[in-house]
Structures are given as structure tokens and as C-alpha cells.
Amino acid sequence: MKATQNPLPETDVDLAKMRKVMEESADVCRAIASGEVDAFVVGDDNSRRVLLLATAYQRYRQLVERMAQGAVTVTGQGNILYANQKFADMLDIPLAQLYTAPLEAYVGMGDRARLSSFLIMSTRNSQIELAVSRRDGTTLPVRLSLATYSDGYATLLVTDLRPVQWPSLTVDALDSIRDSLEKLNQGAIGKDAAARAALDSISEEINGLARMIDEMLDVGGRAGRP
């Protein structure tokens, strides 16, 4: 009989396919168990998406949470889904209090319509400057930059627009040190050649630092500093 002469090739093919599927499944389990994967594809053909394990974005989270710029993600309704510590610091409001709160609640009345339009109309990298309200009632000028917009969620980077304060404090500190050195120079060690040379060297380094800060600040008025 012909049927018995045929070694059931279809069954063999099916078995080979099943073996391959089982081997792959075993390999997936092994990779999961040994921590070699950090994402999975879920869903059917119409709703396929990628789920990341928490460890996959932990470092990004740390980066965002520690960066010196505010970051906030808002829902399509304008409610805060996520914010980093820097943004909470800008508002002087506990971070936990920000979650689910409407972003516009922290924007001055005069800027709310602009914020709303910005969130609706903006494309990536577009920016808007407005004032946010702090807990003590003062306002803080900021620039909002739309970093990403997807699935109805907008992520904004928030930059503090106040003039930078620390360099001027540093300049003041350098001036103070220079004055002290000058007094030393005019005092007891002024007659000691070696001490004078060391003082001159230190003075030169301080002047160099001061010039560097002037250049960073690009302050014309200070350009004539000795």
C-alpha cells in the first residue's frame, strides 16, 4: 500500500516545527532566568507593543531625576503624570503633590491660555517662555521646550531663566582673595623675594580664573578686569 510506504513526511515536518518552537521557548526562558533580556513584545498583530523591564529604564530615570533641568510629562488633559525633583524645586512644592495636578495650576493666570495652545499646537523642539508660580506666591521665569509628544503625552523640559548667580559670587570671592594677597604682599613677606614670587604666581592664577569667568559670562563691563 502506498500509504504505508510514505514515512509520514507531514508529521515529520510538524514535529520538526514543534521541536524548533520548544527549543526557542526554552531559550527564551533561559535568557529571562539569566537576566539577558530586558524587554518583551506583547499583543497581537493589531496591538503589538514593547514592554520594558524596570531595570531597562532605571538609568534613564536616574539621569532625568538628577539633571539640573526641570522635566515634566503631562497627559492630554494637561495633568502632570511625571515630574522630576528639579521641577518640584523650581516650584518649591513637594514632588508627590505635583502628580495628577493640572500643570496650568502652577502657571500664572495670564499665561494659561498660551500654555494650553502650546500643548495643543506645538511640535517637537518648540518653546514658550512664561512664568510659573511658586509656593510662596513669587513667580519664576521659565522656558518650556517640548521634548517629545506621543500617545497624547507631552514631555516638557523646563529651564530656569533667572540670571545665573554663582559666577558673580565666585568673582567676588576671587576679588577678596586678591585683596588679601595684596595686603600680604605689602606686609611682612613683601621683602622676601621667594615669597613675593609665590604670591605673584598665585595672583596670576587668580587673574586667569577671573578672566575665564568673565568670558563665560560674556560681560563686557568686566572685560577690563586686570
Partner: protein, 95 residues
């Protein structure tokens, strides 16, 4: 495997997840060492287009697929275990 055989590899990644980056780095190292000058790597970022997972029935990321030489082979994981990766790609026989 013939010395001139062309290798087409496809690495499925999830954006810049640590395991995806590790897999790409490990894969390049393995290829430079064992397939120098006769391989190509196509990186498919499933974060950007998850639907592409269907082509090779990908469930875990990262996954490396050897498209050529036939037959198709898959290696799942970040390829940190070089011995396993070499065996999976059939660059080294099973012990």
C-alpha cells in the same frame, strides 16, 4: 561554513535599553573576531516599530536572527555568553 560565505544578521533591540546596547556591542565584537569583513548587521528598533516583531516572531529583546546563511537561527539575549552565542550562530559546534 565557507570562508567567503556572507552573513546577514538582524538584531532586534528595544531602543537603547542596557541589554540591547550590550547585545550590539557583543555582536560586533564576535563578528569582528569570527566573521571579519563578511557580515552585515541590521538593527531593528522595536520601540519605534513593534509591528516588525512579527517578521521573525520575536517575543524577547534583544534577539539576534541569522538570516543568512540559511537556515534561519535565533539567539535570544544580550550575547554576553560568547560560547553560547557562537554555538547558537553555528560558528562553533555543539559540544
Amino acid at each position: 561554513m565557507t570562508p567567503t560565505e556572507r552573513w546577514d544578521l538582524r538584531l532586534y533591540t528595544a531602543g537603547q535599553s542596557p541589554k540591547s546596547l550590550a547585545a550590539l556591542s557583543n555582536l560586533k565584537r564576535i563578528c569582528d573576531e569570527h566573521l571579519a569583513g563578511r557580515y552585515s548587521i541590521e538593527v531593528i528598533d522595536l520601540m519605534k516599530n513593534p509591528r516588525l516583531a512579527k517578521d521573525d516572531e520575536i517575543v524577547a529583546i534583544p534577539t539576534l536572527v541569522r538570516k543568512l546563511p540559511a537556515p534561519l537561527r535565533k539567539v535570544i539575549g544580550d550575547l554576553s555568553n560568547e560560547e553560547r552565542a557562537l554555538v547558537g550562530l553555528q560558528l562553533r559546534p555543539h559540544k
